[in-house]
C-alpha cells in the first residue's frame, strides 16, 4: 500500500469516527422534547425525543471499542496496530498450540524401535491417520501404489525396506532418475534392450532382438540396474526381473522409460512432519509388508 492510500484510509476512518461522535453528542439533548419533528406520514407523527440513555451509552461504547480496535489491530492504513497481530501469526500460533497439545501423543512412541512399534495397534491407528493425510494421495489409501507411485505393501523396495532406509526416504525424500537413452541408442538398440527386459522379466519376447539387447544392457544399463538386472537400492534403480512395474509392464511404457527417461520424486517430509510423526509413519510403512 502506498503512503497516499494509507493516509487516505487513515483520514477517512478518523474523520468519520469524529463526525459520528459529534453528531451523537450534538443530538444528546433535545430542546424540543415532547414536541414533534413535523414529519407526518399517514397521520403518524414523529416525536422529537432524545435517544434513550442506554442507547447513547451503547453507542459511545461501540465507538470506544472501535477506537481501541484501531489502535490494537491493523486497520488504519499501514499502521500494524500495537499488538502486531497478523493472520499468518494467528495461524502459526494456533498450529503451535495444536503441536503442543498433540506432541505428547506422538512422543510416547518415540523411544519404541520401529521393529516393535509396528505391532502396537494404538500407535498404528494414529499412524494410519498420518498416512491418510500425507501419503495416501499418491500411494493410495491402502498404500498399494498407483501409476508411477510405488506399492508399499510388497517386498520390493526401490530404496531399501529396513527401518533406517524407510525413515530416510520419508524424511529426506528421494529422487529417482532414469537417463533418457533415446539420443544415445539407435532404434535397433532400443528395441533390443526392450526385448531383453521382456526376457528377464519373463514376458513374451523376440529372442533375436533380446540377444542383441543383452549386449546393450551390459554396456549401458547394468551400471545402475546391476549385472543380473535386479536393481540397486543405492540409486533407487528398480529390479527389472520381477513382474512389479512402476509404470506398467506394457511395451509402450517400457519404451517410454528407455527413450525419454524417468524422473521420480518422493518429497522430503522433514519440513512438514515432526520427528515423532515420521517415526510412527516409518513403523507403519515398515509394517505394511510384514503384517
Amino acid at each position: 500500500m502506498s503512503n497516499f492510500w494509507s493516509a487516505w484510509i487513515i483520514i477517512l476512518t478518523v474523520v468519520t469516527l469524529l463526525l459520528n461522535l459529534w453528531i451523537l453528542l450534538a443530538n444528546r439533548k433535545s430542546t424540543n422534547a415532547g414536541g414533534t419533528t413535523g414529519h407526518i406520514h399517514d397521520g403518524i407523527e414523529e416525536y422529537d425525543n432524545p435517544l434513550p440513555q442506554w442507547w447513547l451509552i451503547l453507542f459511545l461504547g461501540t465507538m470506544i471499542f472501535g477506537a481501541g480496535y484501531l489502535v490494537a489491530f491493523p486497520g488504519l492504513g499501514k499502521f500494524p496496530g500495537i499488538l502486531n497481530w497478523t493472520t499468518v501469526g494467528s495461524y502459526e500460533t494456533q498450529i503451535a498450540k495444536a503441536e503442543e497439545q498433540y506432541a505428547p501423543l506422538y512422543a510416547q512412541y518415540a523411544a519404541t524401535p520401529v521393529e516393535q512399534l509396528y505391532r502396537i495397534p494404538e500407535a498404528m491407528k494414529m499412524a494410519q491417520r498420518i498416512f491418510g493425510n500425507n501419503c495416501a494421495q499418491c500411494h493410495g489409501s491402502d498404500a498399494g501404489g498407483a501409476f508411477g507411485f510405488p506399492n508399499l505393501t510388497d517386498d520390493d523396495w526401490l530404496w531399501g525396506g529396513d527401518a533406517h532406509q524407510i525413515r530416510t526416504t520419508i524424511s529426506q525424500g528421494r529422487t529417482g532418475v532414469m537417463t533418457a537413452w533415446g539420443g544415445i541408442l539407435n532404434t535397433e538398440q532400443v528395441d533390443g534392450a526392450i526385448a531383453y527386459l521382456q526376457q528377464i522379466s519373463g514376458q513374451n519376447h523376440d529372442q533375436q532382438l533380446a540377444d542383441l539387447g543383452e549386449g546393450v544392457f551390459s554396456t549401458y544399463c547394468m551400471v545402475c540396474h546391476g549385472a543380473t538386472g535386479e536393481g540397486n537400492i543405492l540409486f533407487g534403480a528398480p529390479n527389472l526381473t520381477d513382474d512389479i512395474w512402476l509404470y506398467g509392464p506394457d511395451e509402450v511404457w517400457i519404451r517410454q522409460a528407455v527413450v525419454v527417461g524417468r524422473n521420480n520424486q518422493m518429497p522430503a517430509h522433514n519440513v512438514l512432519l515432526s520427528e515423532d510423526k515420521i517415526h510412527l509413519l516409518t513403523a507403519y510403512v515398515y509394517g505394511l509388508s510384514r503384517n
Binding site: Q128, G132, A136, Q137, G140, S141, D142, G144, G145, G248
Partner: protein, 493 residues
C-alpha cells in the same frame, strides 16, 4: 403512574368482613394494573417494571402444583446421580460427542431423532393447550416452578406480602439488612444448586463433585456453573413474570391453539358483578350486588400481576392461585365456590363444552403416529454405520496383469456398547478380487478404517462407471448391518 390507578381507589374500601389479615391501609397496596398504559396518550417507551408483591395462598390447585412441581424438581436434581450399567444414566458428553440417555447411547448423527422428539413434544404441548389451556405454564414450566421457590424464600425470610412491602419502604437498618442477606443467600444457594446440577448433566457428576470442591476441576466447569448460578438468580429473583410476558414465544402464539372450548381460568362476571364490599350478614342481593366482594385477593396472589376479573389476558399462566384465593374468600363468606374457576368460554356463555373437537382429535392422532414411528426408529436403530470414501487421486489403476483397480477407504463405526466382529462385502460387481481385510473386529464406540483395493479383470469392465454398494454385517447378529454406496470406475470403452 401507580397512584393514578383506579385500583388504589377500589382497594381503599376493600376490607372484607370477617377476614382480619387483609391490608390495613391503601398505602400497603401496590396497584397491579400497570398494563393499560399503552392506552394513555404520552407513553414512556422504556417502561420501568413495577415490582409485584405476591400474597401466599393455599388451596386445592396449589396442592396440585406442589404434587407436579416436586417430582419434577427432584427428578432434575437427582437424575445426574443415577447410574446404569456402571455409567451415568443421563450424560451429554460434548467432548466425546456421545449422549447417554438411560439405556441408549446417541451419536451426533442421531440428532434428527432429537429434532423429532422436540416436534412430538411441541405437538403434545399444542394438544394439551387446546384442551386445558396453559397448564404447562402454570404447573410444570421451570420458569414458574423456580419463581415459586424464590417467592417461598421471600415469604420465609421477609415475611408475608404486607411485611415485604413495608420492609422495602423502610430505611436501611440492621434488621432489614439481615432479612435481605438471608433472602439473597438462600436465593444464591438454590441458584448454585441449580447451576451445579445443570453442569452435572454434561460432565461426569461424581468426578465433578470431588474435583469442583477441591478446586481441581476444569475452568469451563467453573465458568458455566457460575453462569447458570447467576442466570438462575437473576431469572427467578428478578425477571420472573417478565420472561413469560416479553420473552416467551409460547405465551404469544398460544392464542392460535385456543378455541372457545379451551379451559381457561375465568371470572364469572354474571355472578360476580356488580362487585362491592359488604358485611357478611347483610343481604347483598337486595342491594343489587353480585358475589364479588372486591377484596382484591385474586390480584394480590397473581405472580404476573394481572386482575383476572378483566377477562382472559395473555399474561395469565393459569397457575390457579386466584382460584384458590377466591375459593377461600367464598368459603369464609359462605358463598358457593367457583366465582373464579377453570371453565371455558362456551360454558360461561351457558353452552356445553365439547371435548372431542377436530383440533384435539387431529393433534392426538398425529402425536400417536409420530410417537409410534419414533419408538420404532429407536427400537430398530442399528448401532452400526459404514462410510465409504473412494480414492480420487486417479480414476483407476491398472495391475500388472491388466486388471482394473479402484481403492476405497471403508470406515466402520461400531456404536454398540461392546466390541463386535463384522464382515465386509461388496454388491454390484459380478467378478472381482477383494484385496484387503474382510473379517474385521471393531471396538465399542470406535471408528476403524479399512483401505480396500477392488480388482476387476479388464474383460469384465462393461461400463465406465459401475454403481456399487459396500455392506458391513455383524458376524454374530446378521440383522445388524449397514450399507454405503460408491462407484467402480474403469476405462471408457
Amino acid at each position: 403512574m401507580s397512584t393514578d390507578s383506579p385500583e388504589t381507589e377500589l382497594s381503599a374500601q376493600s376490607k372484607p368482613a370477617g377476614i382480619s389479615d387483609y391490608p390495613e391501609t391503601s398505602d400497603d397496596l401496590i396497584a397491579s394494573d400497570q398494563l393499560g398504559l399503552a392506552e394513555l396518550a404520552e407513553v414512556d417507551l422504556y417502561q420501568k417494571r413495577e415490582k409485584i408483591y405476591t400474597r401466599r395462598i393455599e388451596g386445592f390447585f396449589q396442592r396440585i402444583r406442589l404434587y407436579t412441581g416436586w417430582p419434577l424438581l427432584l427428578a432434575y436434581f437427582l437424575l445426574p446421580w443415577m447410574q446404569i450399567d456402571g455409567r451415568q444414566a443421563l450424560l451429554f458428553d460434548m467432548p466425546a460427542r456421545k449422549f447417554y440417555v438411560f439405556w441408549f447411547t446417541f451419536w451426533p448423527q442421531d440428532f434428527p431423532l432429537l429434532a423429532w422428539l422436540m416436534i412430538i413434544a411441541a405437538f403434545g404441548l399444542f394438544a394439551i393447550t387446546n384442551f386445558a389451556g396453559r397448564v404447562w405454564c402454570g404447573y410444570t414450566c421451570p420458569q414458574t416452578v423456580w419463581t415459586a421457590i424464590y417467592m417461598w424464600v421471600e415469604q420465609i425470610t421477609e415475611g408475608d406480602r404486607n411485611k415485604r412491602i413495608k420492609l422495602d419502604k423502610q430505611p436501611s437498618s440492621l434488621g432489614k439488612f439481615i432479612k435481605k442477606f438471608f433472602k439473597h443467600s438462600m436465593w444464591f444457594g438454590f441458584a448454585f444448586l441449580t447451576g451445579f446440577t445443570f453442569i452435572a448433566y454434561f460432565t461426569p457428576a461424581k468426578t465433578m463433585l470431588v474435583e469442583f470442591f477441591t478446586a481441581s476441576d476444569a475452568l469451563w466447569v467453573y465458568a458455566w456453573v457460575l453462569f447458570f448460578t447467576l442466570a438462575t438468580y437473576l431469572n427467578a429473583g428478578y425477571l420472573r413474570e417478565q420472561v413469560c410476558m416479553y420473552m416467551c414465544p409460547y405465551a404469544r402464539f398460544q392464542s392460535a391453539m385456543f378455541d372457545s372450548d379451551t379451559m381457561v381460568v375465568s371470572y364469572d362476571e354474571a355472578r360476580g358483578e356488580p362487585r362491592g364490599s359488604r358485611k357478611k350478614t347483610e343481604d347483598y342481593r337486595a342491594q343489587g350486588k353480585g358475589d364479588c366482594i372486591d377484596c382484591e385477593l385474586c390480584v394480590q396472589v397473581c405472580p404476573t400481576g394481572i386482575d383476572i376479573r378483566e377477562g382472559l389476558q395473555y399474561q395469565c399462566i393459569t397457575c390457579a392461585l386466584c382460584i384458590d384465593a377466591c375459593d377461600s374468600v367464598m368459603d369464609k363468606m359462605g358463598y358457593p365456590r367457583g366465582l373464579v374457576r377453570y371453565t371455558t368460554k362456551t360454558n360461561l356463555a351457558g353452552g356445553k363444552t365439547r371435548i372431542l373437537r377436530p383440533k384435539i382429535v387431529g393433534y392426538s392422532f398425529i402425536i400417536l403416529i409420530m410417537t409410534g414411528l419414533f419408538l420404532f426408529t429407536i427400537g430398530t436403530r442399528d448401532p452400526l454405520r459404514l462410510d465409504v470414501i473412494r480414492d480420487r487421486a486417479d480414476l483407476y489403476d491398472v495391475a500388472a496383469d491388466g486388471s482394473i483397480e479402484n481403492v476405497y477407504e471403508l470406515r466402520v463405526l461400531n456404536m454398540a456398547e461392546h466390541p463386535a466382529d463384522f464382515e465386509l462385502s461388496l454388491v454390484g460387481l459380478e467378478q472381482y478380487i477383494w484385496l484387503g481385510p474382510q473379517q474385521v473386529s471393531v471396538g465399542s464406540g470406535d471408528t476403524a478404517i479399512y483401505p480396500v483395493r477392488i480388482q476387476v479383470p479388464a474383460d469384465q469392465i462393461d461400463i465406465a462407471v459401475q454403481e456399487i454398494q459396500f455392506e458391513v454385517v455383524s458376524t454374530e447378529q446378521q440383522n445388524i448391518s449397514a450399507i454405503s454406496e460408491s462407484r467402480f470406475i474403469g476405462p471408457f470403452n
